[in-house]
Symmetry: C2
Subunit: 137 residues, 2 copies
DNA sequence: TTTATAATTGCAACTGGTTGCACCAACAAT
DNA sequence: ATTGTTGGTGCAACCAGTTGCAATTATAAA
């Protein structure tokens, strides 16, 4: 279901500000920080207030339209495409690799079996070294 | 090696402020947010400036004396004991369970094999449901 | 014990992000 | 067309955390 219909179904309004923010996230494709999104918004429509942007991001996250993930010290937003997956971000070249959803299943099983602890790993973003950058040294 | 000797070996000073902050983290045993640490500091010595506290936490993390981990939206600090391990924090009762260091090995291997991506999971803090709270709810 | 020096602190200003509130816009009922 | 209601925005004040800088202090050498 598209973001716009999700909004309407909940009795929420698709305002110009929200349309703008959705467009920016969709067009970017990749991962944007809240601040980058704010900058893009202001570049197109200077008048939009920052609290509107932050509130919209929070709303879209709650609706499941975008994902908010932790990467090191900051939070990044990305579009919730069909099919969940994780992201591998190279700390050397910045490249982002889509990663299969199931890699954390062994961890979830182990935590359950050993500690009776129920954890879920959803759209994780992991920092590390990609193959090319590792070979370069 | 103790935190105090680590400081001295690097030519860094063991000031009263740093001693206080180290004591608070050691005594607490558990996980403290930066703000909680700041509150405890002020409770004992009101004059200490917040920038001193934040800078000290950053320094101690760089030295490896304390760990800074992400838990949901915030960062928590905990003492770097002998033997690394992860933490399982119950989102219902708040209880913290120490978790074996090796649970993420399958993930690290899978990421390497499938994507040539090198990632390391160190002192992770995971939110979820402990066995008791799961049975209750 | 005194001095030299680099490390450290407190301060004030600032940044990213949040919150309460008054006003505004959209829409449904009359 | 008018009104009532709900949701949304902008504003200003606020909060946690950061930064540059001048003043201070722990420490090692003399």
């Amino acid at each position: 279901m598209s973001c716009t219909t999700t909004l309407k179904n909940k009795g929420l309004k698709l305002t110009p500000q929200r349309r703008l923010i959705l467009n920016i996230i969709h067009e970017s494709g990749g991962h944007l920080t809240a601040e980058e999104i704010l900058d893009y918004v202001h570049a197109r429509v200077p008048g939009v207030n920052k609290s509107t942007v932050y509130r919209t991001l929070e709303l879209l996250e709650e609706l499941g339209c975008v994902y908010k993930s932790e990467l090191g010290d900051r939070f990044i937003y990305h579009h919730a495409e069909e099919g969940h997956h994780h992201h591998l971000v190279c700390r050397a070249c910045g490249k982002s690799i889509d990663c299969d959803e199931d890699v954390f299943l062994p961890v979830e099983r182990a935590l359950d079996k050993k500690y009776g602890f129920q954890a879920h790993f959803k759209h994780m973003v992991m920092s590390g070294l990609c193959a090319e950058c590792r070979d370069k040294g």
